[in-house]
Symmetry: C2
Amino acid sequence: MTEASARRRSPRGGGEQLRADIIAAVKDLLIETDGVEAVSIRAVAQRVGVTAPSIYLHFADKDALIDAVVSDVFAELDAAIASAAAGVSTPLARLLAEGVAYVRWAVEHPEHYRVAVMQTDHTPPDVDDVIREGAFARLMETVQECIAAGIFPPGDPLPLALELWTSAHGVAALVIAKPYIPWGDVETLARRALTAAGLGHAVEGLFGGDEDFEAIASWVRKRRASRQN
Amino acid sequence: MTEASARRRSPRGGGEQLRADIIAAVKDLLIETDGVEAVSIRAVAQRVGVTAPSIYLHFADKDALIDAVVSDVFAELDAAIASAAAGVSTPLARLLAEGVAYVRWAVEHPEHYRVAVMQTDHTPPDVDDVIREGAFARLMETVQECIAAGIFPPGDPLPLALELWTSAHGVAALVIAKPYIPWGDVETLARRALTAAGLGHAVEGLFGGDEDFEAIASWVRKRRASRQN
DNA sequence: GGCATAACTTACCGACGTTAACTTATCGGC
DNA sequence: GCCGATAAGTTAACGTCGGTAAGTTATGCC
């Protein structure tokens, strides 16, 4: 068991340092153990070199502590996506790059992704905050650019962005929750799934009526046959 | 607190009845409380009218008990999908019906879906069992029929089925985990997301090279413009 | 009616989240 | 330099949790 040496008492007004150390310790312990429930307040306290009740000087309860960790995790996820999107100039390609980066980060940090996105929140955050800042805001901006470029049908980007989020999350969450399934290379899987989702939304309504499956099927059959020559 | 009256001792060889009652009690408690961790062995025991250690006569530990519940939940999910798919004759429409039924069942039974699909399993089941029977086998069969009908490109239906599973799971899991997001009507959302995924896979490779985004974008722009007249 | 044993219960363990009450190190003011 | 206010901790304890060991009791075959 890793344990920190006894901690020197923080100077006056310096209690915030402990707060940051606690969050970092939780993130470490999430990686070492599995699941939030396996990360105990006592273990976190020991890791930062303090007794358990000291945690409650900075967080109301365990839920509040986890919420703080989740915020931290979302910031990291957003940074990873931003870094992957930088330098990709065309909107459709950037949309794919962002989605793939999302899945990649999730799969590389499964314990953190799980606690942040795969569980119902204890305290729901402000909806506007979620939509207007962070990773989702970035996604919506890219979707808006795709609309402007004529790739997606004109209209509100919000529903489209939400649906693309579900596509990326579906891959990430299932790969994390069911790792024994033969997913193959996850990056390839993500690329295929996200391309299909984007493509699907792009061509929606371009064949027959939206729900006329026979029209779609016959168009596809014809096109596929003609390309085989 | 609901509590069962004291239970009569089961007759010889009738211990299996208690086992079934325990599973049913867990499923009830999952709905009433939130999350597996909030369902305690003691509460389950009280619910079935027995003391806590009696649970261990039928399940090695809590994980084993939850695994049994998960099996039960998967069977229910499969039955719901089967019922929705019955009577839908064309393969593409049936694929959509199955996917929508999957999401609907998940959202109507969030506590059960969460414990079955949204968490990493304690004991991974046999892969072949997952793929060859139950809901996933049904999905793969429908995908195979779509391939036979010329809607999806010929080849192994497994990757395609896996990707479509991620699409449905993405919607279900995010709606459950983040209910405060303005998803709108979930059935509509599911229908749109799944249609896009199916459509995307159907038309993949029908434009230019698979990764030639500009070819795709320009085809879409042209087609969209011509349909506007 | 006796007896083997399946089907339970009682009593207890260490670990958990959390609270109340107590202690101690820091640091501005004299 | 030391003094007192108080921020930054600690110690001790409560009830609940998952789990185990050992004891008890009802059942059903002979």
